[in-house]
Symmetry: C2
Amino acid sequence: MHTSSPTREILDVAWELVRADGLSALSMRELGARVGLRAQSLYVYFPSKHAIYDAMFTNANRELLDRRRALDPPADPTAALRELAHQFVEFCTEDTVRYQLLFQRTIPGFEPSEQSYAVAREVLDWGRRVLADVGVTDPADFDLYTALIAGLVAQQNANEPGGDRWTRLLDRVIDMFLAEVARRNSNTDATLPREPS
Amino acid sequence: MHTSSPTREILDVAWELVRADGLSALSMRELGARVGLRAQSLYVYFPSKHAIYDAMFTNANRELLDRRRALDPPADPTAALRELAHQFVEFCTEDTVRYQLLFQRTIPGFEPSEQSYAVAREVLDWGRRVLADVGVTDPADFDLYTALIAGLVAQQNANEPGGDRWTRLLDRVIDMFLAEVARRNSNTDATLPREPS
DNA sequence: GTCTATACATCGATAGAC
DNA sequence: GTCTATCGATGTATAGAC
């Protein structure tokens, strides 16, 4: 019996270190010391430092997925979208290092593995589903949505980490987005010939 | 007589290296070798590697300012805003490493110096002036604007560097933004009591 | 599985000779 | 101003004792 596997403990401590000193300041010797191991022994559990980053990447995406599953989505699709967006923005701003790992290409040689990407895709597909529920199915509209959210988060984390100068604009941004999509759809209906039915 | 100072040449080569290998892959030894010096001799011109990053930061902001000054802004304020936004987005996406240095906090201990920030503020103030010309003076509206542009650029650079999947949404985003500000202003006019005059 | 020991190449940075 | 020499770090790797 054990409370946590060595692998699990290494990852937990890695997150601690990274949060304290920055994403790229993760050192194998330091990490080993914190878990009572020499740096070399870490290679028993992870083949390289990038493998640790990769596990952290998966880690973080799973955490986001878990939180989404924990939501009890309201019946109203728009309310559900709002809830999702707020959860995502909070997730991205409550831990800027995690945000950096997930959404910025900042570690020199690190590229998430295929299986890590799979989890990231799950997150994105979840978003697509929620948007489809409010009638947004055009891929360009979805790109627009991700850009709007990404912009708020990027500005918040870059210029006022921990604050809410940008994130408090979220509901306004969602309204603006939904109005824009509705406007564009009604324009399209009015000006383009109908599909034969 | 000389074609360029050592300082200038070091910076030029630093940009080359960084564009080739990534922002954090800048190495003093490599940089020295490319300019015909040993790494240690670089410290005659820059007191540290961060000082080189700082000079590059100022460098890039000045380049952006120069381009703005080179614009011959159209008389119509909205057209001028469009032109500015397009120029900015192109500036941010044509060189992702430069974008990373200017707008992402990615280098472990690097913080731009006060005088470097001054140039960055000039850039921001320029944007504020152009937005004021189209009637956008509320600071929250300006924050909204910067987030919208930042979002397009962030998504483009992170997910499809060199492409235009997000940046081609720029005019749509500007329209959406202007409509939102207009809507909000008219709402305010209609529902709030006027100031005594 | 973990240790010690050792190795190699890399890094930023400093001291001091010339 | 440029050099050699050196320092203390880093990631990575291997060999071998226990």
